[in-house]
Symmetry: C2
Subunit: 325 residues, 2 copies
C-alpha cells in the first residue's frame, strides 16, 4: 500500500505499528537501498560494510511546532528537510553520507498518509546523494518528533571546526538567509516570495561542496544550521581565532530583499543570523584557490582577546543566531 | 557543573542549550569516551575508527508517558534503560556495542538536574560495556523524547532473525517477565517486590551472551523487547518455520510469582508476553552445546501452515505482546 492507495482517513492507529512499518518500507523501497548494506531494516540492527576504516556519524532532532508546522510545510517537505539537515552535517566534515536511521514519534490520530509522505520525501532526499535508509523506530507521542542519525565517510581527513588559522580566508557555499526569509514570510501569513518559502520547506545544502572543499585543503568547516554569526563563532572559538565577516562580500539576492521588504526585516540581518539553509562555511589557507561555488566572505585573524566573530571589524550586537531554549 | 552542584530549581531553559550541553559533557566525561573515537562530540559529526570492515547499527525511541513515567522512574533509571535497550540490539546481532548518539527533546521547564541525572545513568550503562557517547542533539518539546542510536561490530557473522531451521533448539538467556511484573506492580500503586520494580527501571540485558551465542553457532537471535511470544513470532516468520515454546521449561522465579499474586496477574502470562527485559532469544542447531546462561525453552519445527509460534503445540490465544499504537 502506498499513500496514493491508502484510505485518506486512515490514522496511524488504524494501521497499527506493524502495518505502518510495512507501508513505510514499501515507500522507501522506491529508492535504491544505498550501497554496502549487508543487512537492511527489519532485524535487530542493520549491518553496513565500511570500506575506508572509519565512519562519520551525526544525529539531529526535529520537533513539530518547534522546527516545522504542519500548516506551513507538507509532510513530504518535512521529510526532505529532516534528511537534508543531517546529510549536511556529513558534508560539513568533508564527507559523503551513506546511511541513515529515523526514529519517528507521532500522535495516534495522525493521518497515516502524513507518515508515508514524510517517508517519501525523506528517502527521495537521501536517494539524491546515494544514501539509503537502513533502520528506524516508531512510537506514539503527543507531538511529531523526528530523530535522524546519518553515517558516512571521508576520502581525505575530516575537516574539523578547530583548524582555522590566522591568515586563512573565510568562504561560504550555498544559499544563506533564504530559509529564515521564508519563515518570516510565513509568519506574516504570506506565501511569497515562493522561492523563500520553498527554501524553508526544503533547504538545498550544497552537499558535494563539502568533500570538494576538503580535497582542496579547507582548514575548518561547519554547516550553517544556527545562523552565519553563530556558526562563524563556533569556528572561531574551536580554533582560537577571530573571524571577521566582510558584509560587502555578502550577497543579498533579489528574493531575499523582496521578502525582507514585505516583512519589515533587514535583509542583511537575515543573511547574518538566519538559520536552516545549511550552507557550508569554511576557512581555506590564503594560497588555496576556492573550489567552484565558494565565495570569500571574510578573513581569519589572530584573536586579540577572546576568540570570536567580528562583522566589518566590530563585535556584533544583539542576538547572533538560534538557541533551542 | 554537575547535578550535585547545580541549583536544584534550575530548569533546562535557565541553563540554555549551550549551558546544558556543556553540563552534560562534564557528566558524560566521567566515563571513558569509548575506544576508537577519532573525533568525539562537539563537531558537526563524530569520526569513529572501524577495525572490522563493518558497523552494526540500531535506533530506538523512548517517550515519556509511553515508555516511562517520571513518578515511577528516576532520571538516572531512564538513562540506564535508554542505553540498555539499544545496547541489547547490538548484542542480539551477536555484536559488541561501541558508540552511541542521543537525541533528547525536553520541556523548557524540566529541571536541568533531570537531564544531567539521565546523562549520568546513560553513560554509566554504556561505560559498563565499554561503549561511549559520541554525539547528540537537544531540542525543546512538550514531552520528553529520547532517541538513541547505537553502533558496534561483530567478531563472527551477525546472527539474523532469519536463520532458524527445523530441528534447532530454542533457548533464552536473561530475565523474562520481570520488567512487565514491575510495571504491573507500579500500576497498582505498589513498590514491591522491589526486584521487579528495579527490573522495569533498569533492565539487565545479558550483553555478553549475544557474542557468546554467535561464537557458539546460534542460527538466529533477537532481543525480547516486545514479549517472548511476539519475538519468537518474529524469528518464526523471518525464518519460515514454526517455533514451539515448552512452558514446562519456562522459569517462574519467586519474585515474579509474588508480583503476579499481588496484582492478580498470571505469572506465566507475564513470562510469555511481558516486554522490556531485553533477554536474548536464540535458536541453536541441536548438536551445539548451549553456552553458559542459556536454557532450552522450546524447539523449531517445519511450518505446517503459516510460520508462527506455538505454545505447548497449540496456537496461543489473545494478545501476544506489545504494539505501539
Amino acid at each position: 500500500m502506498d499513500s496514493q492507495r491508502l484510505d485518506p482517513t486512515a490514522t496511524v492507529a488504524d494501521l497499527g505499528e506493524f502495518g505502518l512499518i510495512e507501508a513505510i518500507t514499501r515507500v522507501t523501497a522506491e529508492q535504491a537501498p544505498g550501497e554496502d548494506v549487508l543487512v537492511g531494516p527489519g532485524d535487530d540492527a542493520a549491518v553496513l560494510r565500511v570500506r575506508r576504516g572509519h565512519v562519520v556519524v551525526s544525529t539531529d532532532l526535529m520537533v513539530e511546532g518547534r522546527h516545522f508546522r504542519r500548516d506551513w510545510s507538507e509532510a513530504e517537505d518535512v521529510g526532505h528537510r529532516a534528511a537534508a539537515q543531517n546529510l549536511a552535517d556529513i558534508a560539513a566534515m568533508g564527507g559523503r553520507a551513506q546511511w541513515l536511521t529515523v526514529g519517528l514519534a507521532v500522535p495516534a490520530d495522525l493521518p497515516a498518509s502524513w507518515v508515508l509522505d514524510f517517508a517519501r520525501g525523506f528517502s527521495a532526499e537521501c536517494g539524491a546523494v546515494g544514501a539509503g535508509l537502513v533502520g528506524g523506530d516508531l512510537s506514539r507521542a503527543d507531538q511529531i518528533t523526528i530523530a535522524v542519525t546519518v553515517m558516512g565517510a571521508c576520502t581525505v581527513s575530516p575537516v574539523l571546526r578547530s583548524g582555522a588559522r590566522p591568515g586563512d580566508v573565510l568562504a561560504l557555499c550555498g544559499r544563506q538567509g533564504w530559509a529564515a526569509g521564508g519563515l518570516a514570510v510565513l509568519g506574516r501569513g504570506f506565501r511569497s516570495p515562493r522561492v523563500l518559502v520553498e527554501a524553508h520547506r526544503r533547504p538545498q545544502p550544497p552537499y558535494a561542496a563539502g568533500p570538494q572543499a576538503a580535497e582542496a585543503g579547507a582548514s575548518a568547516m561547519v554547516d550553517v544550521s544556527d545562523g552565519l554569526l553563530a556558526e562563524a563563532g563556533h569556528l572561531a572559538r574551536a580554533s582560537g581565532v577571530s573571524i571577521d565577516i566582510d558584509t560587502a562580500a555578502l550577497e543579498v539576492p533579489e528574493p531575499l530583499a523582496a521578502g525582507a521588504a514585505a516583512t519589515g526585516a533587514d535583509p542583511l540581518q537575515l543573511v547574518l543570523t538566519g538559520g536552516d539553509d545549511h550552507a557550508l562555511l569554511a576557512t581555506f589557507p590564503a594560497d588555496v584557490a576556492l573550489p567552484e561555488g565558494w565565495r570569500r566572505i571574510g578573513s581569519v585573524t589572530a584573536a586579540g582577546g577572546e576568540p570570536g566573530v567580528l562583522v566589518d571589524g566590530t563585535t556584533p550586537e544583539g542576538a547572533t543566531g538560534w538557541s533551542h531554549f
